[in-house]
């Protein structure tokens, strides 16, 4: 297999509130010998809120990000579910509406860029599954996570709307019974935990305006994993991570029950299994302490 190479759209949290996610992404890419070219020119995707205010602006900015991946001639890899959804949704709309694409390109042309539609946009999770292969991960595992019950938390914006999501990767995912993250846990030697909330919402996007709803959803998710004897949770989304890792106190108050679990980024879980050090994976940056390694 020739060396895998992608254009990496980090998103904002990897640069700010989840530094450990950036660290572990790079550590895992190195272990897997995947080359990631960081799109340092990329802007924020608008995080599913900018389009509520200004849809066209959101399209232009996201198209600009993709245009930079196209310049490299590479598939764009995202490491945040919401970046993935916003970028893939922009791509879908522009690829299916020539008039809209022309309007967006008129603006991009002013700064010497063009959106062509030539780059795929996929989340790192699916790039690993589709292009690298879980069998190969399995072979590379040096510290199997066999003593752990691990609860996968998929995050809405990687699995819904499924019609759009399944354009972004080869391995189909059913939002009512997703398997990708479970398969990854198994490949890392861990025991995957089945629980009702694994494909549900963490509440992140309504945290400021609807704190009670958001905290209840977070609480339900952690409680669901705890009730199935999970030792920790794992998620491909840094926004879910922020909610589950830092908001357990509000979540406990909202559902009237103490809930708290360590929550790992998908990249950290792979890194642990592949023998990366805890420093490389940034495990000290967690609010819900990672006390099992």
């Amino acid at each position: 297999m020739s060396k895998l190479k992608y254009a990496l759209f980090t998103g904002c949290t990897a640069k700010e509130s989840t530094p450990e996610q950036m660290m572990s992404t790079m550590a895992v890419a190195k272990k897997l010998d995947i080359e990631l070219i960081e799109l340092t020119e990329a802007s924020c995707c608008g995080a599913s809120h900018l389009q509520d205010y200004d849809d066209f602006l959101s399209l232009v900015l996201n198209a600009r990000n993709i245009a930079y991946a196209e310049k490299h001639g590479l598939t764009m890899v995202t490491i945040c579910n919401t970046c993935q959804l916003n970028t893939a949704m922009t791509k879908h709309r522009l690829d299916n509406n020539a008039e809209l694409k022309a309007r967006v390109n008129e603006k991009l042309g002013e700064v010497g860029l063009e959106y062509k539609g030539t780059s795929l946009v996929t989340h790192f999770l699916y790039a690993i599954i589709d292009d690298f292969g879980l069998d190969k991960i399995k072979e590379m595992v040096v510290k199997p996570l066999s003593q752990f019950n691990i609860a996968p938390f998929y995050g809405c914006h990687n699995i819904r709307p499924s019609e759009l999501q399944n354009e972004s990767h080869k391995t189909p995912e059913n939002p009512y019974n997703p398997t990708s993250l479970d398969d990854l846990i198994i490949a890392c030697g861990g025991q995957n935990v089945d629980y009702d909330e694994k494909n549900k919402c963490c509440g992140f996007h309504a945290e400021l305006q609807a704190p009670k709803t958001a905290a209840t959803l977070t609480g339900n998710a952690i409680a669901g994993a705890m009730d199935q004897n999970a030792d920790w949770m794992v998620t491909p989304c840094p926004l879910c991570h922020l909610k589950l890792d830092t908001q357990y106190h509000h979540a406990s108050v909202a559902i009237g029950r103490e809930v708290k679990l360590p929550v790992l980024h998908m990249q950290q879980m792979i890194g642990l299994a592949l023998g990366c050090s805890t420093e490389e994976l940034g495990l000290k940056h967690h609010v819900s302490e990672v006390d099992f390694v």
Partner: protein, 326 residues
């Protein structure tokens, strides 16, 4: 179809059974059946009632996916019973299927739920054309094809309740209007003949009940059997709120606008600044969590805020491509 191509499969159904008049708790009754590749979920509901237990209760009417009566859930998936093939469900969930009403906490008898909250939410958004048409109009009220296209999709709603009862916010917050009624609101908001535009939009913009409490989980888009994509209509309502300046929820509005400000300044989102701009003085309530995050190196100080390369490009695009003002 050639009979030879019909296949069969043994499926175990765990069916929610409950009578609110006599039962304290619901139970799941097991039925093992041979199911053909031709059968839809409604066929099984019929077989249970007709062949096994006449007291089994569910709603059905058209059998053509247009009345919305038979909406239930199978393994948590919103399902219009008359439309969904059983073998396709077993491909997703295996050979054991859990048949439940749309909302178990609203169950009256078996699959039948009390849907009154659904209808109350509809009533709240004036689900009709409010048009002051003269008694003796002198000309037609013309709707162009393009104007009609904007409402066509939303008009296809059969009010089955699939999206409403799939919505996690409806489950938690009783005031939340919910995706189905928002689709209905959009249907008339986008109708050029309607005169209740601002009044209806105000109802959709209020805190707790309005569109701002949507968590953007896309459960509604996934659940809708008519592919109406309710969250897309919710997004349109958000945009109308800005266009018509129907500001009723400062925190949420500033939260959306704050992204544009931050991208203009840094290219990236300044997380701390966004919370400050959205919350104003109420930011104090976030201090305990912020302190914990700070200790773990999760807060970037304003003077260390990273910036996108070629920021001038982003700034130019914001200037040339912005279509909304706040």
């Amino acid at each position: 179809m050639d009979n030879n191509s019909i296949t069969t499969k043994d499926v175990t159904f765990k069916v929610f059974r409950f009578n609110s008049e006599t039962d304290y708790l619901p139970m799941y009754k097991e039925y093992k059946m041979e199911v053909t590749s031709e059968e839809v979920v409604l066929d099984i509901l019929d077989r249970i009632k007709w062949d096994i237990d006449g007291s089994f209760s569910y709603r059905r009417s058209c059998r053509h996916g247009i009345c919305g009566a038979c909406a239930i859930q199978v393994n948590g998936k919103a399902t219009l019973a008359c439309k969904v093939n059983l073998h396709s469900l077993t491909e997703t969930f295996g050979d054991e299927l859990i048949i439940e009403p749309q909302s178990t906490k609203r169950a009256v008898k078996d699959m039948i739920i009390d849907k009154s909250d659904f209808w109350e939410k509809h009533a709240q958004v004036k689900p009709y054309l409010d048009s002051h048409i003269e008694e003796h109009p002198e000309m037609e009220c013309m709707v162009s094809i393009e104007e009609n296209d904007r409402i066509m999709e939303a008009d296809l709603c059969i009010q089955c309740g699939a999206c409403h009862y799939a919505c996690p916010v409806v489950e938690i917050n009783e005031q939340f209007i919910g995706p189905a009624a928002f689709v209905k609101a959009y249907r008339f908001e986008a109708d050029i003949r309607d005169d209740a535009h601002i009044e209806r939009l105000e109802e959709c913009a209020l805190p707790e009940q309005g569109v701002w409490d949507c968590v953007k989980c896309f459960e509604c888009a996934e659940a809708c059997p008519k592919e109406i994509n309710p969250i897309e209509k919710i997004t349109s309502l958000h945009q109308m709120i800005f266009k018509d300046k129907v500001y009723k929820n400062g925190v949420a509005e500033r939260h959306a606008v704050g992204f544009a400000h931050s991208i203009k300044k840094h290219g990236l989102l300044d997380e701390g600044q966004l919370v400050l701009y959205s919350e104003g003085p109420s930011i104090v309530k976030h201090i305990p969590v912020a302190l914990q995050m700070f200790k773990k190196g999760k807060i970037v100080m304003p003077w260390n805020m990273p910036k996108s390369d070629n920021l001038d490009e982003i700034q130019k695009l914001i200037k040339s491509s912005s279509t909304t003002k706040y």
